[in-house]
Amino acid sequence: MRSHARIGFILLLTPLVLWLGLLIVIPHIDMFLISIRERISFGVYETSLAQYEKALTEPLYLRTFWRTAVMSVLATAITLVIAFPVSYYIAKMAKGRLQQVLFMLCLIPFYVSELVRTFGWMILLRETGLVSTLLQWAGLADQPVEMLYNDAAMMVGLVYTSMLFMVVPLVTTLESLDDSVIEAGYDLGGNGVSVLREIIIPHAMPGIVSGCIVVFMLSLGNYLTPTMLGGKDSLWFTEMIYNQFIVRSNWELGAAFGFMLLVLSSVIVWGMLRLTGRTLQETMG
């Protein structure tokens, strides 16, 4: 009987171990090994930290690295600020069918591939696009306005892409907040601001943190949106990794970049958890 249970346990565990091992652990070990070698001449490699040194001393690389981090944090913050009232409305104010419809409306854009969605934004924002034409028609602009290829357009794209991943955890946690707790907050003399600060936000904290982590990771690792909507100056770190691997065939530097991105996201997520005094178990469980 015991051995049966043991075999069952092993069988259940196998897919997980295979998945983790083949797709995550082994490639990462390999990546790490690639990142710490230096090409001396054809087919001759030496272990060194030269790639990291290059990444950390070259201003373009470093600047892009920090810019990507800051912009991702900013995109996460903007997504939170926009998603919170939306989620509050869906979870607490909308009732019955309206609630379902609104939730579906958040979900429907994700039926379409990210590429098509991003093209949608390009159609709206380009020089001959809808917004530009409307502005000219309304007399607010006297010539076509180019709204693509800048940081603002990229930010719009990032926030739009991430919205659902913030709304879902927020709606779930806000729904679990008993209406009478909010009412009690008002009844005991609180106003909108104090009820939000002392009751609603502390209650929604697990949802806020998990939503922020997911959105931050998605933004940091996004490739399509910054490439398509961002301008010449809006270089994203993932683009640089792509360039090193595919365009320049410099796998060593690309692997080093990859590891820097992994460390960065780990540090920022850890910092976010520390800042809000939560543990990963609490947030994910």
Partner: protein, 363 residues
Amino acid sequence: MTPDLECTDLVKRFGETTAVDNVSFSVPPGSFFSILGPSGCGKTTIMRMIAGFLDPTSGDIRIKGGSVLDTPPNKRPVNMVFQHLALFPMMTIAENIGYGLRRQKMPKDQIARKVDEALDRIGLPGIGGRKVDELSGGQKQRVAIARCMVLEPDVLLLDEPLGALDLKLREHMKVELKALQAAFDTTFVYITHDQSEALVMSDQIAVMNAGRFEQVGTGQDLYYRPDTPFVAGFIGEANRWKGRIDRVEGKALQMRTDSGLAMQATAAGPMTTGDTAEIFVRPESIRLAASAEALAAFDNQLQGTVTSILFNGAASRVLVQDDVGETLEVTLPQSGEFAALKRGDTVHVGWGAAQATCFKGAA
């Protein structure tokens, strides 16, 4: 003296349905007022209007003489203990109790002192640092009351706060709530569907049905002198007979039941011969006896067979089927006399006309 709380001609409609229909009442300072009614009768709606979460369709609510209709909930001098207490789970007990004081911008040291005082008062000193979910049901109850009472409201509203507790604790909390009310000397307005909660604690009880107040009075009034058939049926248990009035002499009357029995009863309102009527007799007002002679003093006497004994300790009942086939409930005395009573025994039952209340029937 100005009443602490006064509602006049309060009406609340939700679309087509009238949840509260022309209700007026006033609650004198320092008293315990209950609104008792079945679920869906509109009692919660009244409470939410007093607290300010709902606006009445018409009518006025005055607290200490001043209308509060234009005052938002966070500015009203009333506080509410919610059905599921609604303690703030993200805060400690002390933070919960201090929440309202923080809103009043009271200095920190003063808040801490007031919170400690409140915890002493509810008999839970030193638990301020604990989390809400570390407390038992009864403790949470007391914290929820303390959280309101530190604000010294003119009126404290309680929305079935004992509903979630188990029976033993509920019995205990009834006594404790009454004691807390006396200790804080504040007006309590309590809503419940549990008649025993209302009867034990209240100075005044309003019985509510379908959006209206059926009767307002003390527990004794409602129990002994119900104004309407609804009150007679809702407060305590009752055996009922429908029939037609034979004879009326002042308050005393005789009714012929639909099954053909003649019964002596007391009228609860003006009545004339030929009216359809209904008689209510409480199981505890019916005397059980082994022989007809022992019941000679009673106006109404019946003979019957025991069909069932419903044992429930002090509240045990006997179901007796009379000769015309109707079953009535009689309280089983616990004096030992009927210890041997069993199914199929023949018994005699009797009750006085004063204990039988007769209401004019609808049909």
